[in-house]
Subunit: 150 residues, 2 copies
DNA sequence: TTTTTATTGAGATTCATTCGCTATAGTACT
DNA sequence: AGTACTATAGCGAATGAATCTCAATAAAAA
């Protein structure tokens, strides 16, 4: 399997763009982040490490990473986008706790069938799906129950 | 079944807010819109009818309608939110054409099972889910095929 | 090297959304 | 009806994420 850097370099060559240290540094940082991130968090994390990249460069690099399948937009919340790297991970969806924000990832063997069914029923050629489930995690569920009882 | 106006009035009383002609006019307009809408479109539609409400009032009213289950956010795209009224409609998800933007609504008998499975597996109390499927509609699919052949 | 031109950083700009202010108008209680 | 209380409306200003501008820089190709 190609490294994410290799994937990006191939993409850069294909699109006749240029390899730059900024883009590759941002990419490396993204693949060091465990979990979801936003532009501001990524920027601050780089800044703390003494890496000098501008927010504009991050905003300009993200669409490239997304375009070549390394990163995806996860959700728009708190007024801005949140992302995650996906290269090397199996496709998954998110179960989010409405109370504490904890995110549980899960895989769905079934949604493939749904896609096929939709393709047949409506004549669409399905490209992707995005499922987000929300609820209360075990801890917050318990807390809610106790609050309700009193 | 209560009317959407009645639902809203009950909610207003419960939360000890005030009935105002603006809020009720905005609500009425929303339930006259077939399909999805955004704040700007709603505002212009009201303006064209000679109704004088400010955008700020729309922005302030929407969270109330969402809170009492009359309206929901559909998706964030093109830099802003899109909404739809849901009261009186069965729960549905969206199949969107990536090329022309056409939206096909569909119901999912199955996702209930998925919710139960997730509840069991992770101990979550599921509150809602949001599934968005993307692809090419029949017309755009055909157009893509023809372009590829030539 | 030299040339070409994509990319960068910093600041300006855009645009959706929110906020602050004051006048107004719902609501409740005489 | 009249009065008091205060939530809400409208307006313009403020906010903040994302994009754009532009001069300086540095990849890539020759
Ligand atoms: Mn994830
Ligand atoms: Mn819909
Ligand atoms: Zn939780
Ligand atoms: Zn289409």
């Amino acid at each position: 399997m190609k490294s994410e850097l290799q994937v990006f370099q191939d993409y850069i060559r294909l699109r006749e763009l240029r390899r730059t240290p900024e883009r590759e540094r941002i990419l490396r940082e993204i693949f060091e982040i465990h979990g979801h991130f936003d532009v501001d968090g990524l920027y601050l994390q780089l800044k703390q490490k003494g890496v000098k990249v501008s927010k504009a460069s991050i905003y300009r690099a993200l669409p490239l990473f997304i375009d070549c399948g390394l990163v995806r937009e996860v959700e728009f919340s708190q007024g801005h986008w949140h992302y995650e790297h996906i290269y090397g991970h199996s496709h998954h969806n998110h179960l989010r706790c409405l109370s504490c924000g904890e995110i549980q990832e899960f895989e769905n063997l079934f949604l493939h069938c749904l896609e096929e069914q939709l393709a047949k029923e409506y004549g669409y050629r399905i490209k992707s799906h995005h499922l987000q489930v929300e609820g209360l995690c075990p801890a917050c569920r318990q807390r809610e129950d106790e609050a309700g009882r009193s």
